[in-house]
C-alpha cells in the first residue's frame, strides 16, 4: 500500500472551512450550552432567562448567516463534478434541516407559551445536530 503525501497549505479552502466550522460551533455549541445553563438561569429568575436568550440570539443569527454563505461556497466547490444519488439526497436533506433549524429558532423567539418554546428548541437542536452529521457525510 502506498501512502499519500500529507502537507499543509494556507489557501481559500482553509479559510472557507474554518469559517464554516467556527459558525457551526457557535450555532450548534451555543444551543447545547443553553441546554445546560437554562435550568440554573430559570432558578435565578425570568430576567436571567430573558438575557440569556437575547444574548444567544445576538450570537447565533450572524453565525447562521455565515453558515449559509460558506455552505453555498462549499457546494460551489463541487461544481461540474458528477455526484452520486446518495450524495445529492443527503445534500437536499441537509438544506431542509438547516431551514427547519432556522425556522424553529425564529419561532422560538416569537412564541411565549412554555411548552411550545420547549418543543421548538428541541426541534431546532435536533435538526442542527442532524445537519452537522449530514455535513460531515457530504465532506467525506
Amino acid at each position: 500500500m502506498i501512502g499519500e503525501d500529507v502537507t499543509v497549505a494556507l489557501n481559500a479552502d482553509v479559510v472557507r472551512l474554518f469559517l464554516h466550522m467556527l459558525a457551526a460551533s457557535i450555532w450548534v455549541g451555543g444551543q447545547f450550552v443553553m441546554l445546560g445553563v437554562l435550568e440554573p438561569a430559570r432558578k435565578i429568575g425570568s430576567l436571567a432567562m430573558y438575557r440569556l436568550c437575547k444574548m444567544l440570539a445576538w450570537l447565533s443569527w450572524p453565525a447562521l448567516a455565515v453558515l449559509v454563505v460558506t455552505g453555498i461556497w462549499n457546494i460551489m466547490m463541487f461544481n461540474g463534478e458528477p455526484k452520486s444519488t446518495a450524495w445529492t439526497v443527503v445534500l437536499w436533506a441537509k438544506v431542509g434541516l438547516v431551514i427547519l433549524a432556522g425556522l424553529s429558532a425564529w419561532l422560538h423567539g416569537k412564541i411565549a407559551v412554555k411548552w411550545e418554546t420547549e418543543t421548538l428548541a428541541a426541534v431546532g437542536t435536533v435538526s442542527s445536530v442532524l445537519a452537522l452529521i449530514f455535513g460531515v457525510m457530504l465532506a467525506g
Binding site: 500500500m1 501512502g3 499519500e4 503525501d5 500529507v6 502537507t7 499543509v8 497549505a9 494556507l10 479552502d13 482553509v14 472551512l17 474554518f18 466550522m21 467556527l22 457551526a24 460551533s25 457557535i26 450555532w27 450548534v28 455549541g29 451555543g30 447545547f32 450550552v33 443553553m34 441546554l35 445546560g36 445553563v37 435550568e39 440554573p40 438561569a41 435565578i44 429568575g45 430576567l47 436571567a48 438575557r51 440569556l52 444574548m55 444567544l56 445576538w58 450570537l59 463541487f78 461540474g80 463534478e81 458528477p82 455526484k83 452520486s84 446518495a86 450524495w87 443527503v90 445536530v129 452537522l132 452529521i133 455535513g135 460531515v136 457525510m137 457530504l138 465532506a139 467525506g140
Partner: protein
C-alpha cells in the same frame, strides 16, 4: 504517435460510516468546546450584572458539558492521527500538528484556571485565553485536515 487523453472526473460520494462516526464525534465535541466558550464570553458579562452567584452557576453548568467534550476531542484527535498512518507526512504538517497539540493543552489549562478563578478579572483573563487558544486549535485542525 497521437495519444488521446480522456479526463475522467471522480464521482462525489458520501463518507464511509466509520469516517462519519469519527468526524461527527470530533466536530460535535469541538462545537461544544469552542462554540460553548464563545457563547459563554457573551453570556457571562451579561449575567454578571444580575449579581449574586450567577456567574459561578453558569460556569459550573458550562463545565458539565465542556470537560467531557474536551475528552472526546482528545480521543477522536488521536483517532484522526491514526488514519494518517502509512502516509508521507511533510515537516510543515508535523510542525502544525505539534503547535496544535500545545495549543489544546494550553486551552485546557486556561479553562481549568478559569473554573477555579475567584475574581471577575481572573475569570475574564483565563476564559478569554482559553477561548483564543481553542479558536486557534480549530484553525490548526482545519489546516491539518486540508
Amino acid at each position: 504517435m497521437d495519444c488521446c487523453y480522456i479526463l475522467e472526473m471522480e464521482t462525489v460520494q458520501l463518507a464511509d460510516w466509520l469516517t462519519t462516526i469519527r468526524l461527527v464525534l470530533h466536530v460535535f465535541a469541538a462545537a461544544i468546546w469552542v462554540g460553548g466558550q464563545l457563547v459563554m464570553m457573551g453570556l457571562v458579562p451579561t449575567e454578571r450584572k444580575l449579581g449574586g452567584n450567577t456567574e459561578r452557576i453558569l460556569l459550573r453548568a458550562f463545565s458539565f458539558w465542556a470537560w467531557p467534550a474536551l475528552a472526546v476531542l482528545i480521543l477522536t484527535g488521536f483517532w484522526n492521527l491514526w488514519t494518517f498512518q502509512g502516509d508521507t507526512i511533510s515537516t510543515a504538517w508535523m510542525a502544525v500538528l505539534w503547535i496544535k497539540l500545545a495549543i489544546v493543552v494550553a486551552a485546557g489549562m486556561f479553562q481549568f484556571l478559569c473554573d477555579r478563578a475567584k475574581t471577575h478579572r481572573s475569570v475574564d483573563l483565563w476564559g478569554s485565553l482559553s477561548c483564543t487558544c481553542s479558536v486557534l486549535a480549530l484553525f490548526g485542525g482545519v489546516l491539518l485536515a486540508g
